[in-house]
Symmetry: C2
Subunit: 147 residues, 2 copies
C-alpha cells in the first residue's frame, strides 16, 4: 500500500511541508484509474490560515464533477481531522489510506460508518516525521487542531 | 436571531456570491464577545476549487489559537455540508446558526451529537435566494455537493 504513487506523493508533500516550517502532513487524491487529481500539504503556516493537507489536495484538484470522485482514494500521512473527514464524505471518495494514527486519531469510525474503506498503513516514516514535529513545535500542532 | 450582526454578514456574503455568479452561500464566524473573526462565501466558481462558505469564513479569520473559538458562533445561510460540519467540529465553535435547511439538509444531527447548539432560523430571504440559484444553475449546485 505504501508503494502506491498516491501514498508516495502524500509523504513527499508532508516532507515539503516540514521543509517549509509548516505542519508536516501531506495528502493526494487519486482517481479510480490511478491518476493523481490533486496533491498538497497543510498550509496553516504558509498561508496564515486553516488549511489541512486533504483540503489542499482537494483544492489543488480544482473544480471536478461528482464522477471524478467515484472510486477515488484519498491518501493522507495522518489520520484525518474532523474537517478532512467531512471533506472526504462530501466528495464521496471511496477509500481513505492513512499513513498512521498513532500521533493523532481522527474521524476513521465516522468514515467507516458512512461506507468508506479505511486502511491504516502504519508507516514508520510518517510516524517519525510527525513525532519529530510535535516535539519541536507543540504550540503549532495544538493550534492546528484547536486544543 | 436573524438581526444578529453575524447573521446579517452571512446573508450579505451570500448575496455577494450570487452577484459574482457563484454559489450563493455565506457565512460568518463570530467570537463569544460579538467580534466578527471572519466572513466569506462559497468560492467554487471564483477560485475554481472547492471552497464552501464556512471554510471561507474560517480561512478569512486567519490563524487563531483555540481560545478564539471558545463560545464562538458560526452563522451560515444554508445547512452545513459534511465538510463544513467537520470544520465546525474541529474548530470547536459552540453554536451554529443556520439560515435555512429546506433546500439542503447537512450535518445538523452530527453537530448536535457532538454538543453544539444548532439553531435553524428558517429565514425567507435565504430560502428564496438558494431556491432561485438552484433553479438557475442546477449543474453548478450539483457540482458543489458532488452529486
Amino acid at each position: 500500500m505504501d508503494q502506491e504513487p498516491g501514498f508516495i506523493a502524500a509523504v513527499e508533500e508532508a516532507k515539503l511541508g516540514y521543509a517549509e516550517g509548516g505542519v508536516p502532513i501531506g495528502a493526494a487524491l487519486v482517481s479510480k484509474d490511478g491518476q493523481i487529481l490533486g496533491r498538497g500539504h497543510n498550509m496553516r503556516v504558509q498561508k496564515g490560515q486553516p488549511g489541512s493537507a486533504e483540503m489542499s489536495a482537494l483544492e489543488n484538484s480544482g473544480r471536478l464533477p461528482a464522477s471524478a470522485y467515484e472510486g477515488a482514494t484519498m491518501y493522507t500521512t495522518l489520520s484525518p481531522c474532523d474537517m478532512c473527514t467531512g471533506a472526504c464524505l462530501l466528495y464521496k471518495v471511496k477509500r481513505v489510506v492513512i499513513g498512521e494514527n498513532k500521533n493523532f486519531l481522527g474521524g476513521e469510525e465516522l468514515l467507516k460508518s458512512r461506507g468508506k474503506d479505511v486502511i491504516v498503513v502504519d508507516n514508520q516514516e510518517c510516524k517519525d516525521l510527525m513525532e519529530k514535529f510535535m516535539k519541536e513545535k507543540p504550540e503549532l500542532w495544538n493550534e492546528d487542531i484547536a486544543v
